[in-house]
Symmetry: C2
Subunit: 301 residues, 2 copies
Amino acid sequence: MLPFSRVTIIGLGLIGSSVARAIRANMPDVQIMGHDGDADVRAKARKLGLCDDVSDQAGTAVIDADLVILCVPVGAMQEVAESIAADLPDEAIVSDVGSCKQSVSEALAAALPNATIIPAHPVAGTEKSGPEAGFATLFKGRWCILTPPDAAPEVAAEKLSTFWKRLGADVEIMDARHHDMVLAVTSHLPHLIAYTIVGTADDLGDVTEREVIKYSAGGFRDFTRIAASDPVMWRDVFLNNKDAVLEMLQRFSEDLTALQRAIRYGKGDELEALFTRTRAIRRSIVEEGQDDDAPDFGRKH
Amino acid sequence: MLPFSRVTIIGLGLIGSSVARAIRANMPDVQIMGHDGDADVRAKARKLGLCDDVSDQAGTAVIDADLVILCVPVGAMQEVAESIAADLPDEAIVSDVGSCKQSVSEALAAALPNATIIPAHPVAGTEKSGPEAGFATLFKGRWCILTPPDAAPEVAAEKLSTFWKRLGADVEIMDARHHDMVLAVTSHLPHLIAYTIVGTADDLGDVTEREVIKYSAGGFRDFTRIAASDPVMWRDVFLNNKDAVLEMLQRFSEDLTALQRAIRYGKGDELEALFTRTRAIRRSIVEEGQDDDAPDFGRKH
């Protein structure tokens, strides 16, 4: 009944450690092997008991696996995949959790030309990093997007799909290029904007950083959460989904210029029309179960 | 011991109704009079028992007041102030809760040339609107900024300061022009950016609105909360704090262009350096008690 019985997780940060915890919670009979390139992270993972065994070498961790999930920054995928190539069993399926799928697909195919590769992206996370930050319910009710290459056997995608559903996720199959466009809008552009505005607010002469922090409840603090996300992970996302991100950024900039113009020339009707339209989108997101309806994200008051 | 014994609230939406509830909770002996220009809102306020009495006319509501707080969109301040001019007692203090202070100061002074006016801005709110959306603890631990004009008697600002502290707020005195610069960064620009990006995502040809909603947990949904804020209130904010907003928007656009360039030319070090810096600002905001440390805003998982 289990889609896989021996799963190896390479990279034991927020996502990798959450996958381990979710497997334990939902498929306790699965044997979990782990590895992380950072000795500190390995020590923490051992202490937390995230896996049945944590190996010092990536190769050792995959020897026995029927599923290997790479949970490392997208810029590190190819190198990590190369490090397991010699030890990877022929019948193992290789997957990942990266936020860009075209570049990762290519990187994995280059490093593991004979492996069965089904790239995946669970659209879930928090702004926290590291093995202590993960939790078993992170994927519950969230979407996991699989982008199987045309040549991949259908049964492999089906097994991976079953795996993610067992962890609580809903699964969608998508073309890698389309995934990268969709996520450029729903994830990469929002992060880029948040990083920018938090940087802008840090740089002002006439308003002190102390004031920005003090009065951040006016809206600014919402952006700081996203802008606290893992710097290396996000550096790699922007470098590896460059075309789609730049395309979306261009559209955003044009829209921002239009709004700037509406403010400058006092076009209140235009502003009000946009602000009414955006309110409806929020409503749809809540109705779809993709966010809570609690005011102010349910912050304590 | 009470700073005021008869308080009139004009405008019974999210903020006005929260002021009424906070008075009831913290100073139950204060008599609360209310008015709203919208008959539906008046009916709801009566049903909720927010005030001791809700008048159909603004003038009637202020006849007996020693404090009048205008809780209406900033663009409506002058007209509302004019509507109470004939009935306002000489000794009453007039205040407001608007998000821009220079334009409101001028509007109130023009409408009520002989009144004691102490403009105020509690930096608190949620994305919800209307009298049902308010709650008594909205101002707890948040800052309320007073911008008393030079000519205002010091005792008036002191009484209003005591009033807001009794509602749970911390109080800061600031020059109106400086307030408008600070809030342009910490509140107005974030709202403008959020409205823009949610609008951008609604307009794409190659990614459907359905996909944007479905995969919004990647970051986009955070922006939709702010972009669900009251359209009329925010239209007025941008029109009434035009100079500071346009100035901050210009700086933001320059920073965004620099980041765009870093992505285009693959400057990973620049990206990582910014993303590391912004993480520290988040930490300061949490340390200052201006946001919770709970991952993902404490959303249920």
